[in-house]
Symmetry: C2
Subunit: 147 residues, 2 copies
DNA sequence: CTGAAGTATATTGCATACAATTCAATTGAG
DNA sequence: CTCAATTGAATTGTATGCAATATACTTCAG
């Protein structure tokens, strides 16, 4: 192996490991904040979508969250068990399952309203740097997604 | 809820979602490259550490990878089953388990040597931007880890 | 020396991720 | 119209993450 290639196989030099670790630590920060709402982070993401658009189907939700039905089906069943959403088969096309917020699900939004600011404060980074970080992540995602 | 707070509860504006999605897509890119080596991404991270330091214990590995024994113990058992590492209790302190590379584990490094460059190329981003992204992730991790 | 406190790993339980497969429903080419 | 191809969800199986707990071992105060 060349010295150059050798040199790249070092944990601390790997962008992906940094991204991977930062992402997990951020989710951990959310975990504390979400505990009073009895939501996990992926469940919170699903609720974010539904708070914007109170009804959509599994496929549409999956496209927004970049997750497939293997992940979403059990997650949505848990949200249903908590009384936050309901799942109903479409009359027009029985393959499609519509997800919509219950009143309880809508009400939960108020309890979540402080979370974005709380996370921003915990990050301790200036807003400009966070926005730049977000843009780079979005670009990277896009590049890898179109391969 | 204030209009300002309302405005933050939008999926597409959340840094964490961008980080979360980019991280998962990057791991997906690794998955293809790692398939011939029969390694998952977290297993590859563990091997990266071991390729630098062929013997260390579970606690030390956990500190480097930011993972606990609940994740590492089964992962290391899988690496052991593949014949890449061996796990032995310390004689001096029976609580400690030493992990070390087998010859087969050492040999696998050659097959991994092309991966960092391949990932860099797939990202399609200039090196400078990737380095900046890495630095921001490292800083964010550090901030959240010291709370 | 001895029991309490601390430490390193393992186990358990739950919730993702995601590939692969299945199944029912729908669509579309001929 | 008809059957093969496609589609949307669900299911299955594997591998993380991680909190909580258990266990065995070590250390240390008295």
């Amino acid at each position: 192996m060349s010295a150059e290639k050798e040199d790249y196989l070092v944990l601390e030099k790997q962008l992906c490991f940094s991204l991977y670790s930062a992402s997990h630590r951020l989710v951990r920060s959310y975990r504390q904040l979400l505990e009073p709402l009895d939501l996990t982070y992926p469940q919170y993401l699903a609720m974010l979508v539904l708070w914007q658009q109170s009804e959509l189907n599994v496929k549409e939700l999956g496209e927004k969250l970049h997750l497939d039905s293997g992940t979403l089906t059990p997650l949505l069943k848990r949200l249903e068990n908590k009384g936050l959403v309901s799942r109903t088969r479409s009359q027009l096309d029985e393959r499609v399952v519509h997800i919509h917020l219950t009143e309880q699900g809508k009400a939960l939004k108020n309890q979540a309203s402080h979370i974005p600011v709380a996370i921003f404060q915990q990050s301790g980074l200036p807003l400009a740097q966070l926005l730049e970080l977000k843009q780079s992540c979005d670009l990277l995602f896009q590049q890898l997604d179109t391969l």
